[in-house]
Symmetry: C2
Subunit: 158 residues, 2 copies
């Protein structure tokens, strides 16, 4: 008997091929599973929707959260056709699923021209050494926002 894990990953892989060939974007698919059922299917739509954040994992996470009516993927598993890029890995940590399964590695992604590995390298660099310059500005004024948050009685933490 085939493990359900394989079945869910094969659906992510199927999406990675079918949606790419249909012109939606790069070759990436993902599904979110809860209680043994697929609750969301995501696929890359960067070029077709002009949204650089619409990677398969982000798309699947957003759809799964919309379905569940929550911003957390508690007790959910994510199956993605490729090891998440730093953006998607960050999205995963914010959504907090139980486990992640991936097919291709980030080295496989780099080998066909995707920047994942480059971005991982950049994140570990000090701000001043990064390719995109990043500069602190008006930190004292900006902290007013955080003070207002701490004083906001009806704040919903996440």
């Amino acid at each position: 008997m085939e493990a359900p894990h394989d079945e869910f990953m094969r659906e992510a892989i199927r999406l990675s091929i079918e949606k790419m060939q249909a012109g939606h974007g790069g070759p990436f698919g993902a599904v979110v599973v809860k209680d043994g059922e697929i609750i969301a299917r995501g696929f890359n739509q960067v070029t077709s929707t002009h949204d650089p954040t619409c990677h398969a994992e982000v798309d699947a996470i957003r759809k799964a959260c919309a379905t569940l009516g929550t911003f957390q993927l508690t007790d959910c598993d994510l199956y993605t056709s490729c090891e998440p890029c730093p953006m998607c890995l960050g999205a995963i940590y914010w959504a907090r699923p139980r486990r992640v399964f991936y097919g291709n590695t980030k080295q496989d992604a780099a080998a066909v021209g995707f920047d994942d590995h480059f971005i991982y390298d950049e994140i570990e660099k000090p701000l001043g050494e990064r390719t995109i310059p990043m500069q602190e500005l008006l930190r004292e004024e900006a902290r007013a926002g955080f003070r207002a948050w701490e004083e906001h009685e009806s704040r919903k933490e996440y």
Copy 2:
């Protein structure tokens, strides 16, 4: 005369306070500037829209790209009320703006209860040591998606 930089950052800070107090989400705002004009305003909407990826920077990047009709923020600057979390930093690298200015630091964010610093630490860990388990599965089958991409004649690279 006040530098325009300050003016743009103050708008990001204003959004971080006003939109949080209106109940949209956490205390974070961002603007995208092109040719000296604000072309998009973003703010955190995680809790109000049930979208864990709707951070101020992601929101601003998505809106700016929709306005420009492209998935790249060439010659644009991003002003954000807080140093980007790993998800937003990844989104920035995919959108490729010219520069980023930030107000609060990631340490400031951690001090008021946001996980940014935790996620930065996790990203640098080997897969097996991360809090959310990540496991490779069916890599050989997944590579079919990348082969299909390389063979896809009308592919649009990004």
